[in-house]
Symmetry: C2
Subunit: 495 residues, 2 copies
């Protein structure tokens, strides 16, 4: 551009047309969301649609309307399905309309939440304070919103690593730690714990997996033995991860007993509350979480059972100085000023690995204000009630077998036709689940418990009604019966 | 809830009212965004507003309208300012209207991009393929969208660490690596490199900071000497980070020469392209980036110079097997099925630390299609032209001093009244910048070069016109003149 040319911009040439497109997007979105129950939970993406996503880099403009239309035609019809009342896979929330409006507004205001003096920072501080209240942490604890619990656990374990090391680990690295650090968690701990210790340079071997009891809760005596063994062999027991809701079955470790053990053994006590930390809000189940308030750090998710749209997780650290000591770093170009834009009491970049940070706090703030946390608590109780209802239906049906105790909202079961060998049962249920997904009727997921493949429903769904669970089981019985009649049904061809 | 009670839900009792609120949010957002030029870049948050963000956890519902109104009254008026045509702080983009619509739609569809078989995964694969094209990477490279370059650099350096170790670092940890790994980058490298080596357990001491030449580019001879030294003292040179645009001055290392050196020395070659990787799109400057296509990994940002709303960064890794080997981990509850929802060729959770991942790909996909990458390239050239214009204006003004060469879009300068000692000059310019922020006229940021405090403008702004730079300099000259007349102006009271 020479100084005489009109400068280009990404702003619309025609503001009213762009505004009209936004209104159209709102109408399409509301039509789609309010009618979600009428559509299949999931359906495969047609090959002709999938082929649209192998284009060369678009050099020339297609325009906003065309881009939106392609979203409307190619993307909107083939969702993952977790907005649907009969989606129970893995552990996800549904999202909410105001949560989505919040993400739109965040992107309009578009602040960088790494630091600076602007009101969005206050919004995140408020939300972090509210998360402290949810788990019973003191006001002087620190915290940070993150993408989700994988990152929240990683950040908390980074603080635990640095705070428990005998050396200046931040400066010298893991290699300078003479007695290797050891982290303990039950065999049921989420895989993100392994990914975290690997990322942190401690290695997977630093993560000692502790056996569980029949209810999938950590075996405290075994934990104590492993700690003693590690002391004896010259390792340094550093941290215990308690599970507030395991991913497989929803089991909750004895969080009080773990707190006492960590205090006695002088270990960092971290709680992975991705699934269950928010059960503290549920009037009829909150006692299950007793002891979480004693942790040194907690990871929780807001995009799971609190239904804030992805992504929204949170790390809380009791000792804020330890969190700052792990992450704060202020080069000349980020120096905090006394007044003006570059001032501000809290720079969130001092509390985690991200410098560029989006305004995910807004959707959380809006959601909490919209509904109030009492309602989220009642909905958690409602989902747990539904899980117990589902378990009762399974117990009452001879062809179904409940595979694990139901504590929170996770139910594991399988279809068990007579006369199938164990490996045939696994293959049968694997195929049955795929056919259930393909039917579009319901989408539980799966796991393997003691070598036995199970269907698994995690009912973290504010749209689910009791009838949905019956619809799911009826479909399973129908598919199972049809498979039982097929020659290959008893031994599915897995080619 | 007993089975007879009506279940609760977070869905609106009154869908039309919620839809109307969304339309109102769109109208307010468009009014606000299209008139941004008429408002101050920044203003402090009034204490009465800040006080609103110290509430107890809301237990009871306030309703969507009230929550939105509070956003409208308390949050919208006090933005960071990076949407404004005269915001040049740090290095941020402005966002775009369609980008914000994209975030709304992502949150409506609300998929978890960790894995599974749904069309959103195809959108991210497409966007990652486009990012490979931007930097000249081969199609078989792997990649992942992340929150931004801090995380993108961290992920790439995790892969580099594991790929260059002599041990099974993922299993055994950094302590098992006999010859300590060393990472090299110039003294101008972004602080996220230090945060990354600290997080990865290598320790800050593993990051060797290499001197720069007068143009702030890495000194290749010094780098070679440091590598030789480290070999001699039993360390293992592992990785070089090349700067494609430094944060202080926009300097670009000799990326071709670094590639040759890394090939010769068998080092992992990573390029931090947070700022400059996308200059490959700019027809008149792309030759500055020659050599980036030879890297083993590249981190780039899409929320900076490509103006996608926060958050959107990307890691690219030439050897996809190395990226998978660092992050893939498939427990029973995440096993990839053959058909159905849990199938799918690519599980992005196998390529990075996150399992829960939002649909940030959508806003990128929409933005690229809307404008075409040629336009983004022209806008990058436009901003670089503006930076040269600003430098020329500074050079022409006796009271201003240009402090570093201008290569890309970053300009460092200071106000230099006669007869001030060096420390007085620093304090003077620090105060001047704060007053400029407080004026609301323009928001450059700051850095310190060779002990000298500078004002610093990073013009990554699709709304900036040449007149905006003149307006900023006029304000600086006016504030500087006023300060020069004050008794305290020459020695500001920093109490």
């Amino acid at each position: 551009m020479s100084a005489n040319d009109a400068p280009e911009t990404l702003d619309p040439e025609d503001w009213p047309a762009m505004r009209a497109l936004a209104h159209r997007a709102v109408d399409d979105a509301f039509d789609w969301l309010s009618s979600v129950r009428e559509r299949p939970v999931w359906q495969p993406t047609p090959a002709a649609i999938a082929a649209q996503f192998h284009q060369a880099l678009p050099r020339t403009p297609q325009g906003a309307e065309r881009a939106y239309q392609d979203f409307h035609d190619w993307v909107l019809p083939y969702p993952m399905g977790n907005v649907h009342p009969r989606f129970y896979s893995w552990f996800m929330g549904n999202g909410t309309p105001l949560g989505a409006i919040g993400d739109f507004l965040s992107a309009i205001v578009n602040p960088n939440m790494g630091g600076g003096n602007h009101v969005a920072i206050q919004v995140e501080s408020q939300v972090v304070d509210w998360c402290k209240e949810i788990v019973g942490f003191p006001a002087e604890a620190s915290g940070l919103l993150l993408s989700g619990a994988s990152m929240a656990n990683l950040v908390a374990l980074a603080v635990a690593r640095n705070a428990t090391a005998d050396c200046d680990l931040r400066e010298q690295g893991v290699g300078a730690q003479a007695a290797p650090l050891r982290v303990y968690a039950s065999v049921e701990v989420h895989s993100c714990a392994q990914k975290a210790v690997e990322m942190l340079g401690l290695g997977n071997q630093s993560l000692r997996k502790v056996p569980v009891d029949a209810d999938y809760r950590i075996d405290l005596a075994a934990l104590q033995r492993m700690i003693d063994e590690d002391h004896a062999r010259g390792c340094k027991p550093a941290c215990v991860i308690g599970n507030a809701g395991t991913i497989n079955t929803g089991a909750v470790d004895d969080l009080k007993a773990l707190a006492a053990l960590c205090k006695r053994e002088k270990l960092w006590y971290h709680v992975d509350g991705a699934i269950g930390a928010v059960v503290t809000l549920a009037p009829r189940r909150r006692e299950l979480l007793a002891g979480i308030e004693l942790a040194d750090s907690v990871a929780l998710d807001l995009h799971k059972w609190l239904h804030v749209p992805f992504e929204a997780g949170c790390t809380l650290v009791r000792n804020s100085a330890a969190q700052r000591a792990t992450f704060a770093l202020t080069p000349a170009y980020l120096k905090h000023a006394e007044r003006g834009l570059a001032s501000g009491a809290v720079w969130f970049s001092d509390y985690g690995p991200q410098l560029s940070r989006g305004f995910r706090a807004l959707k959380v703030w809006l959601s909490f204000k919209e509904h109030g946390l009492d309602k989220f608590g009642r909905l958690i109780d409602q989902n747990i009630d539904q899980a117990h209802e589902l378990a009762a239906l399974i117990r009452a049906e001879p062809l179904l077998e409940l595979m694990a105790p139901v504590v929170l909202n996770i139910v594991c079961w399988r279809y068990r036709p007579p006369n199938l060998a164990p490996d045939q049962l696994n293959a049968f249920n694997e195929e049955l689940l795929i056919r259930l997904h393909e039917s579009g009727i319901a989408a539980p997921s799966y796991t393997t418990l003691n070598g036995q493949y199970c269907l698994r429903a995690a009912i973290a769904n504010h749209r689910t009604e009791s009838r949905d669970l019956k619809i799911m089981l009826d479909a399973i019985l129908e598919i199972g019966a049809a498979m039982s009649r097929e020659p290959l049904g008893r031994n599915p061809n897995k080619s």
